[in-house]
Each structure stands twice: as structure tokens, then as C-alpha cells.
């Protein structure tokens, strides 16, 4: 059995109802599981929402996470992804005084662009695999980013 703490992405389809998100997060905190990121939004034209949870743990822990999630009454389905397309978005705010063309070129490389230019700041958006978003954020460090926000990952099985 593999006891390494592996990063895993789990998607959960839940009924849209009061306190369903707390049920999920309480389960993670109560049983000592990790949440690296969590995104949630309603599924269009349905009474369900989809959560994407990035977590980590041994094979046994991941198996328990999926089983325990399944046990929650409002949970319809749990996907523990193996082969998936995974994307995350990041917004970054730079001072207008930085080299905008450099920043724009880097954004291009990471599937992004400048989305807003104000009097004092520019805002960029990139959407890519979480690992590549890490790289992007590393690359733009020298342009003095003022604020960074990441969305958390979303994923779909291939």
C-alpha cells in the first residue's frame, strides 16, 4: 500500500441545499483530511452543484475520503480523478509603472492576457494547469505584483 501523500483531485456532485458545503468541509476537518483548494458552483439547469476538491493523502486516506463523501446524504456522486483535464485561474494586479509588454508576453505563454488597465494598475488573468500557474506566479515575481488571487482548480475527466 502506498503511504505517500499524493495530490489528488476529487469532484463531488451534491444537491443544492442549505449547509451542504459545511457538511463537506466538516467531514474533512473532523476526520483530519487536507483541503488544498475547493471550488464550488451550481451545475446549469439542475438542482445539483459541483465541487472540485484538491486534496492529498495516502491511497487509503483517499479511498476513505471518497467513501465518507459518498456516505453524506446529499452527495450524488464522487469522482476520484485519474485521467483529467485540470485548470485553475489566477488574477494578478501589477503597478502600471512595471514593464507591461514583458508582463503581457509572459501571460501569453501561460494562456493569459491583460484584462484590465486602470490609472495605477493593470490586472492580468491566466488560466492553466495548477502547476503551470505556479510557474507563472514565479515568473512574474520580479514585476512586483501587488495582489494575487487563485481560483482553486476545476477538473473534468478526459
Amino acid at each position: 500500500m502506498n503511504d505517500n501523500n499524493e495530490r489528488r483531485v476529487v469532484s463531488v456532485i451534491v444537491v443544492n441545499e442549505a449547509s451542504v458545503l459545511s457538511r463537506i468541509t466538516d467531514l474533512f476537518s473532523g476526520r483530519g483530511y487536507n483541503i488544498t483548494s475547493l471550488t464550488v458552483a451550481p451545475i446549469p439547469d439542475s438542482k445539483y452543484s459541483r465541487l472540485t476538491i484538491v486534496t492529498s493523502g495516502s491511497v487509503r486516506v483517499i479511498e476513505q475520503i471518497t467513501k465518507q463523501l459518498h456516505k453524506l446524504i446529499p452527495v450524488l456522486r464522487v469522482y476520484e480523478h485519474a485521467d483529467l483535464v485540470e485548470k485553475e485561474m489566477a488574477l494578478v494586479k501589477f503597478p502600471i509603472t512595471e514593464n507591461i509588454s514583458d508582463i503581457s508576453a509572459i501571460c501569453d505563454a501561460y494562456n493569459g492576457k491583460i484584462v484590465n488597465v486602470g490609472n495605477e494598475v493593470v490586472i492580468t488573468m491566466v488560466a492553466d494547469e495548477p502547476k503551470r500557474v505556479d510557474h507563472y506566479l514565479e515568473a512574474i515575481k520580479k514585476y512586483n505584483p501587488k495582489e494575487i488571487v487563485r481560483s482553486g482548480a476545476v477538473a473534468l475527466e478526459r
Binding site: V15, S19, S22, R23, Q64, K67, Q68, I73, P74
Partner: protein, 565 residues
């Protein structure tokens, strides 16, 4: 039909066939209590503490197999009940607990007696609801009962704001439930069952490991058939006591921290564990890496999350134990019972080497003697509840259980104060049997106010206090593992239990000889009113054998051999 939310609660309870409700009124639940006053379809039993109301509902549910119902008010009423919810959650007891809540308009304002009840109960219930509109009440109550009793049973909490109980809406309880997201898996996979039976047929030293799920699933008699048809020895967990009769030749006994030598050795030596409705609790397994080390595991459980949670299962079977065992019985002809004869002999040798016993004493009453004596005098005629501690283990070890649902105790949560109210619930469910609660001088004080309920509602529970003037189990650990530093466990300063019982209108006995005990028990059974029998027992008796916490099952501390006097 149009009616108020409060009336809907009553109608739903009637539709569910509820006969007893254990509860305690208060501000936020008053509308419902007003409707209780107007009806005579079910009996309301007023406990004297909300915790006791839930434990009594648990005792009722465990003894009857029905869903237990408890009703409480908001705020402190609810928080008092939380221990009961947690207890029921750990032991998979089907309950519906209905609490009042402050009116919707006041929720979130820190109103009088307001607490986020569903926020608190979320982690100790199978499911919970905050009802925000009376039109949802029929569906929610129906779902609550359904969820409580199906799948792996458990407590469901329904929190109803006061204005919702006053609101008028349409009541129709005949609506079909469609819970798309809740579909318990009750039938085991036939291919897996066949593979499991083949593994049994090929094993040399198989062992049944029976858990509380067998009793919850009402599968004890099917399991008895399977055990006898295969000739395979069985061990029971604490929660499974009574699955096999105490005198069954194939029952080795209870395993675990205070299990018998033979049961723990059998588990250590087996080559195939057949786990039925058991969850490999730490009090059962001891050190996990050494548990049934050389065995393959068949694990039958209704809860997929219990399978391979702690011990990897080679033959996982998700399903209701009763259904699965019934299917297994159909394939039982492939199993040749004589094959296990050498294994049964090995186990007999274990039993002879270190039988489960204790050292009798001619002067002092040994606590184990009391348990055995009650077994001799009442046996099958009694239902046995316990509190938590040494007395609980002695009851589990030495009472001659003959049937499922005879033993009612708090296993998973280990709740002191459980026994007395639970025994009242047991008595309410099974009035023809004597309801005994084995308790300690520590535990009994954590719900002794229930004397009043027992007197008022004529629930003649006989509480047998194995009184050693200690918080005995903690004292035992201090003696063994804390170099005899008995920190805060000396309970020498204690009430007069006889006067305490009598103050409430019950009856009390003080017992210091075996003759006095026999007389007291006989009298209590005859007089049929709630009783405390305060038995002075040997102070420093330890529960043995013992697997120290985290130790391996085969490394037990055993009863010291004693030279005969």
C-alpha cells in the same frame, strides 16, 4: 389536509407507528407539546434531563429494533441532548430527535435559547435538517425516519423553528420518497459471496468475527445457522454480545482489550477472518499491524466506508448482513466442517490454558460474582444495560447472554450515565423482562435524577451498583500505567445510595454479603419498583485479561495465578 407544523409532527409520529416519545419541553418546542397534550396515540415519557431522554430513546430502539424518538427544546435543551446523539451515532442506533428552534426571524440574532443546533449536530448525526417551511415537514419527517432505520442505522436530527410549528400548511404523509442521493446497498455481490464461501471452504483456521451490525440487521439467528452449519468458531465484539448463546460450543467469547485469552489468541492465529458487521475498532484490534496478521479478511458490512478503513479486506462485501448471510447459507454445502477439527482443538487448548475467570473470595464480594449471580438468578429473564467502566466489562465478560438485544450498552462513545436511562427505554420496550442496569458508583451519579422518571412512569429498573469507591477503570489504568498515582479517582466521598433512591420514591438496598445480595435482588424483582442495590465490592479488583492500549492481542496481561487457600 391543512394543519399546523406542530400537528404535522404528531401526525407523522402516529403514521410511523411511534408508541413512546422520550422528551423534555421548553419554550421553542411548546407548540408541539401543546399537540402532545391533546393526543393519546403515543405515550410521552418525561425524563428529568435531555441527555437521559436521548439515552432512553436509544435503549428503546436497541431493545425493540424500532426507531427511537426524542423531543427537546432549543439551546440548552438541545446541547444537553448532544451526548445522546453522539452516542447513537457511534453505535449506529436508529433515532429521530426533534428539537425546537427560535423563530426564523430571530435565527442568527443570538436570541434567547438560540444555538446553531444543526451546526453542532452535523458531525454526530447520520443526517440533520433545519425546517424552514411547514410545507416541507411531512417530507422531512418521513425522510428522517427512513434514513434513521435504513442502511447503517443512525440518529437523524430535525430542528424546527417555533414559527414553523405554528405555520399552517398541507399535510400528506403518503407522498413517495425519492432520495436520489441515498440508496443503501443491501444485497451483496453474488460473485463476491461465492468467492468468500470458497475461501472459507479452503481455509484451515477460519474464524467468525461478529460485530454489532449483526444485531442491528436482525441477523443473529441466520448467523447462528451459518456458524453451526460450518462448524467454524466465533468471537463476538462487545457490541455483538448475545448473537450466539453463551453456552454455544462454537462461541469462544468476546475479543479485544478485555476479551478472553482464547478469543484473542484465535484471532491472532486464524488464517481467515469472516467479519460480519464489525468495524475493526481499536478496542478490538489492539495494535493493527499485528492483528490477524496471517489471515485473509472477508468483510461484510452495510457501510462501504467501514470496509478497508483500518484493515484491508480481501473479500469486501457491501450489503445487509442478513441478506448476505442468507446467501452464504445457500452455498454452505461446499464447506466441510470436519476440516476445522484440529483448529477447534487448538482453540479448546487456549480455553483450557487460560479460561475466563476470576478469583473467588469468601469474605469480600467480587464484582464478577455479582454479574454471574444475576445471570444464575435471572438469566434469560433479564435484559442487561450497563454504564461505562469496569462493571461494564465484567457484565460483558460474565453475564450468560442467550439472545440478541439482551445486552444494551454504550460501546463506541463510552458514555457514563447511559445505563440507567437506557434501561428505562428497554423496560418501556420490553416490559415483560426484568430490566437490570449494572453500574458503578461513578456512572450512576451521571443521570441519577432519572429515579424520578422511573418512579413516575413505573419503569422498575434495578440498578446494581458495583461500588468500589473508585472511578474503577481509570483507577485500574492508574495502577497499571501511572505507577499507582490515583489522581482524582477516589470516590470514597459518596452519597447514601439507599437514601438517594428512597428520596425519589424508589427503593434502596445496601449489600455487603452474598446472602444480602440474593435477598435484595429477589425483593427488588418482586416489588417491581425502581431500585438501587448498592453492593460493596472488592476495591482493587482489576478487569482481566487486558491488552494494554496499542498492544498486540496476543500480548495480554492475564489474571495472576493464585495459590489455593
Amino acid at each position: 389536509m391543512q394543519m399546523s407544523g406542530a400537528q404535522m409532527v404528531i401526525e407523522a409520529l402516529i403514521a410511523e407507528g411511534v408508541e413512546r416519545v422520550f422528551g423534555y419541553p421548553g419554550g421553542a418546542i411548546m407548540n408541539v407539546y401543546d399537540e402532545i397534550y391533546k393526543q393519546d396515540n403515543f405515550q410521552h415519557i418525561l425524563t428529568r434531563h435531555e441527555q437521559a431522554a436521548v439515552h432512553a430513546a436509544e435503549g428503546y430502539a436497541k431493545a425493540s429494533g424500532k426507531v427511537g424518538v426524542s423531543m427537546i427544546t432549543s439551546g440548552p435543551g438541545f446541547t444537553n441532548a448532544v451526548t445522546g446523539l453522539a452516542d447513537a451515532y457511534m453505535d449506529s442506533v436508529p433515532l429521530v430527535v426533534i428539537s425546537g428552534q427560535v423563530p426564523m426571524s430571530l435565527i442568527g440574532t443570538d436570541a434567547f435559547q438560540e444555538i446553531d443546533a444543526v451546526g453542532i449536530s452535523r458531525s454526530c448525526t447520520k443526517h440533520n435538517y433545519l425546517v424552514t417551511d411547514a410545507k416541507d415537514l411531512p417530507r422531512i419527517l418521513k425522510e428522517a425516519f427512513y434514513i434513521a432505520r435504513t442502511g447503517r442505522p443512525g440518529p437523524v436530527h430535525v430542528d424546527i423553528p417555533k414559527d414553523v410549528t405554528a405555520q399552517i400548511a398541507e399535510f400528506d404523509y403518503n407522498v413517495a420518497l425519492h432520495l436520489e442521493t441515498y440508496k443503501p446497498h443491501v444485497n451483496g455481490n453474488p460473485r463476491q459471496i461465492k468467492k468468500a464461501m470458497e475461501a472459507i471452504a479452503h481455509a484451515k483456521r477460519p474464524l467468525f468475527y461478529l460485530g454489532g451490525g449483526v444485531i442491528n440487521a436482525n441477523a443473529a439467528y441466520e448467523v447462528r445457522d451459518l456458524v453451526h452449519a460450518t462448524g467454524i468458531p466465533a468471537v463476538e465484539t462487545f457490541m455483538a454480545r448475545g448473537t450466539l448463546s453463551y453456552d454455544d460450543e462454537l462461541l469462544i467469547g468476546m475479543l479485544g482489550m478485555h476479551g478472553s485469552y482464547a478469543a484473542n489468541m484465535a484471532m491472532s492465529e486464524t488464517d481467515l477472518v469472516i467479519a460480519l458487521g464489525a468495524r475493526f475498532d481499536d478496542r478490538v484490534t489492539g495494535k493493527l499491524s499485528e492483528f490477524a496478521k496471517n489471515a485473509a479478511i472477508i468483510h461484510v458490512d452495510i457501510d462501504p466506508a467501514s470496509i478497508s478503513k483500518l484493515v484491508n479486506a480481501n473479500y469486501p462485501i457491501v450489503g445487509d448482513v442478513k441478506n448476505v448471510v442468507t446467501e452464504m447459507l445457500k452455498l454452505v454445502t461446499i464447506v466441510e466442517s470436519s476440516r476445522y477439527e484440529p483448529w477447534r482443538e487448538t482453540i479448546e487448548n487456549f480455553e483450557e490454558l487460560h479460561p475466563l475467570t476470576f478469583h473467588e473470595d469468601t469474605e469480600n464480594i467480587k464484582p464478577q460474582w455479582v454479574v454471574k449471580r444475576v445471570g444464575e438468578l435471572l438469566g434469560d429473564d433479564a435484559n442487561i444495560s450497563t454504564d461505562v467502566g469496569q462493571h461494564q466489562m465484567w457484565a460483558a465478560q460474565f453475564y450468560p447472554f442467550t439472545r440478541p438485544r439482551q445486552f444494551i450498552s454504550s460501546g463506541g462513545l463510552g458514555t457514563m450515565g447511559f445505563g440507567f436511562p437506557a434501561a428505562m427505554g428497554v423496560k418501556a420496550a420490553v416490559p415483560q423482562k426484568t430490566s437490570i442496569n449494572f453500574t458503578g458508583d461513578g456512572s450512576i451519579l451521571m443521570n441519577c435524577q432519572e429515579l424520578m422518571t422511573a418512579v413516575e412512569k413505573n419503569l422498575p429498573v434495578i440498578n446494581i451498583i458495583l461500588n468500589n469507591n473508585f472511578l474503577g477503570m481509570v483507577r485500574q489504568w492508574q495502577t497499571l500505567f501511572y505507577d499507582k498515582r490515583h489522581s482524582e479517582t477516589d470516590l470514597s466521598v459518596q452519597p447514601d445510595f439507599v437514601m438517594l433512591a428512597e428520596a425519589f420514591g424508589g427503593i434502596g438496598y445496601r449489600v455487603s454479603t452474598k446472602e444480602e445480595f440474593d435477598a435484595a435482588l429477589k425483593d427488588a424483582v418482586e416489588r417491581n419498583i425502581v431500585a438501587f442495590i448498592d453492593v460493596k465490592v472488592e476495591r482493587f479488583e482489576n478487569v482481566m485479561p487486558m491488552v494494554p492500549s496499542g498492544g498486540s492481542l496476543f500480548n495480554m496481561m492475564l489474571l495472576e495465578k493464585k495459590e489455593s487457600k
